[in-house]
């Protein structure tokens, strides 16, 4: 019999605690598959954030570190500069990366740290129970903007790829989505490039993945996927924002 698919060895064999319809599990698996394919599992160090993906340190079968909210890029910087032979990635949500950790995001990009950032944008705080994120859409309801996000009170959502694209140090920026099967395949390609860039010492690489949070959006998983395609993608257009070939 021919083996056509298996669990990546870069993923620990244990059940994940993520909700039904959540995108974290998909992206975890993609990262693990890429670690296997690039044969970098034994020299990869991952940084887990604060938020739902705090548990990422239990799921990836590589050295892991979990640190303070938003500081992933600083922690990754410390590891990479101390152990340049390691492949270092930081896995972060939207509150982590674009709110409390915005300074670390911008400055690690400005320094063009040779690290890989996986940014999960689901437009809401998941772990704490559905509060407004810096990426929450105008009109979108959250537990801290129950009438919907308004410009007058909350201002505008932050478009991270567009913003970082202004920085010379940001070598590779791409926004993808895991709401559809083709989107998952494109996401894998983008994340693989972000890791390959680090192997090739290209500098700062980040993939922003539009993801789902049906639990805190008050939707079914199917409705959640549709929300990404119909509501999020027009505000956060998919595509390559910077590439090393530019």
């Amino acid at each position: 019999m021919k083996l056509i698919n298996k669990k990546p060895s870069s993923l620990v064999d244990k059940p994940m605690r993520y909700c039904p319809g959540c995108g974290h599990g998909i992206v975890h698996r993609l990262i693990a598959e890429i670690m296997d394919e690039l044969d970098i599992r034994e020299r990869t160090v991952g940084v887990a954030p604060v938020g739902c993906a705090v548990f990422a340190d239990e799921y990836f079968n590589c050295d892991m570190i979990q640190g303070p909210h938003g500081r992933g890029p600083a922690i990754a910087t410390g590891i990479k500069r101390s152990k340049p032979e390691c492949i270092v990635f930081s896995y972060q949500g939207d509150g982590d990366l674009a709110s409390i950790g915005m300074a670390e995001t911008v400055h690690s990009a400005a320094r063009s740290e040779n690290i890989t950032i996986i940014f999960i944008n689901n437009a809401i705080y998941g772990m704490t129970g559905g509060q407004m994120a810096p990426t929450t859409l105008l009109g979108q309801i959250s537990s801290t903007c129950p009438a919907g996000r308004s410009v007058a009170v909350n201002g505008y959502p932050i478009k991270v790829c567009e913003m970082l694209a202004q920085l010379q140090g940001a070598r590779y920026l791409e926004r993808t989505s895991v709401s559809t099967a083709p989107g998952v395949i494109k996401t894998k390609k983008a994340i693989k490039k972000a890791f390959q860039n680090q192997i090739d010492c290209v500098g700062f690489s980040m993939v922003e993945v539009l993801s789902t949070c049906p639990t805190n959006w008050g939707m079914t998983p199917v409705q959640g996927a549709r929300f990404v395609d119909e509501k999020m993608t027009p505000i956060y257009p998919l595509g390559v924002y910077r590439s090393p070939e530019q």
Partner: protein, 354 residues
């Protein structure tokens, strides 16, 4: 004999860390410690280490969190407001058992305060500093030579017990120049054994996780109890202090850091006038040399605490003598007393002793 070098306190501190094997420094400018990152910016590349001027103190301490998790000797430095910003990260290091080393070149506070010397960060340093239940080993130099020699001891203790360790200095110690003789051989980091918890190349071993949390029911307390046992051992074995002329003393002045240098001058003035006055100087502020102080209190019934803060250090003195002696306080919050002023206080207290 090692060579004597005339150095500024901040430079001695940086060079001492380098000689002790530090190969990663991240920091952010703040007066009066700027000479530390400035020195490290050229010295680190010279020894094959990394220097980063971070975007903030918060980023700097988190860079240290990552770097020290790879098992190398790391350092950050700052001054009071900057150390406040680092406290969350220091708490994480304590919670993840990472042996980081940092220095606080204290300035006047609270708030922006001023850039002159102060000792107002005593509570913050000796009572953990950040959130949660933890301690940091605190060494308090009182001369430039100690600024240069204490980093090595901080690294050794931090690694032995897997706790953060710090040097608590101040603007005077950071800025003044004195001769320094390094009392230890240059440490080659390559000769240090890689710790069995360090992250990095995992070939041939199980994956490792560095973290400061455990959400499982009842498990966090077990971690904390184990750490508490380490703290108890540190308190039992690692205190350092200095007694001067305490054996026949009727009054002992207690002071640390810069205050102890000034107090030593005042004690000499008192001795010259025939007054039986001694000096107790803790070198480790945590663990506090409580037993050594209690031993003095067996025959000395009067203490005068001199500190450049409102009455923080005095609490540890009172806890140590535990009601067996009278403890007076000369507090100069963000003020630097002269030896004459301290002598006047000594005279006042001494005259009241029957």
């Amino acid at each position: 004999m090692a060579e004597k070098i005339l150095m500024k306190g901040n430079e001695a501190l940086a060079e001492g860390a380098v000689r002790a094997g530090c190969r990663f420094f991240a920091g952010y400018p703040i007066t009066p410690q700027n000479e530390v990152p400035e020195y490290m910016s050229w010295r680190m590349p010279e020894v094959g280490g990394s220097f980063i001027q971070a975007e903030s103190e918060v980023a700097a301490i988190n860079m240290l969190y990552g770097a020290s998790a790879t098992g190398i000797r790391t350092m950050t430095s700052s001054s009071s407001p900057g150390i406040s910003l680092k406290q969350e990260g220091i708490s994480y290091c304590a919670g993840a058992d990472l042996p980081i080393f940092f220095a606080n070149v204290v300035r006047g506070g609270p708030g922006l305060g001023n850039i002159a010397a102060g000792q107002g960060d005593y509570f913050q340093s000796t009572r953990g500093g950040g959130h949660g239940d933890y301690y940091t080993i605190v060494m308090a130099p009182n001369c430039v030579e100690e600024m240069g020699n204490f980093p090595r001891r901080c690294y050794e203790l931090a690694e032995k017990y897997r706790v953060p360790a710090m040097i608590l200095a101040d603007a005077i110690l950071g800025q003044m120049m004195e001769p320094v003789e390094f009392d230890f051989e240059l440490v080659d980091p390559k000769t240090l054994k890689a710790p069995d918890w360090a992250l990095g190349i995992a070939a041939g071993r199980e994956r490792r996780i560095v973290r400061s949390y455990d959400l499982r029911e009842g498990k966090l307390e077990l971690l904390n109890l184990e750490r508490m046992e380490r703290y108890r051992k540190i308190q039992e074995k690692e205190t350092l202090h200095e007694n001067r002329q305490t054996d026949d003393a009727k009054l002992v002045v207690a002071a640390y850091g810069t205050s102890s240098r000034i107090a030593a001058g005042a004690v000499k003035m008192a001795r010259d006038k025939g007054m039986k006055v001694g000096l107790f100087r803790p070198i480790t502020l945590w663990p506090f040399p409580a037993k050594a102080l209690a031993a003095i209190a067996e025959h000395v019934k009067n203490f005068l605490v001199v500190e450049m803060s409102m009455g923080q250090f005095v609490e540890d003195v009172r806890l140590s003598v535990c009601g067996t002696a009278r403890v007076d306080l000369y507090a100069r919050p963000a003020g630097v007393p002269s030896a004459d002023e301290v002598f006047t206080e000594i005279e006042k207290v001494y005259q009241g002793i029957r």
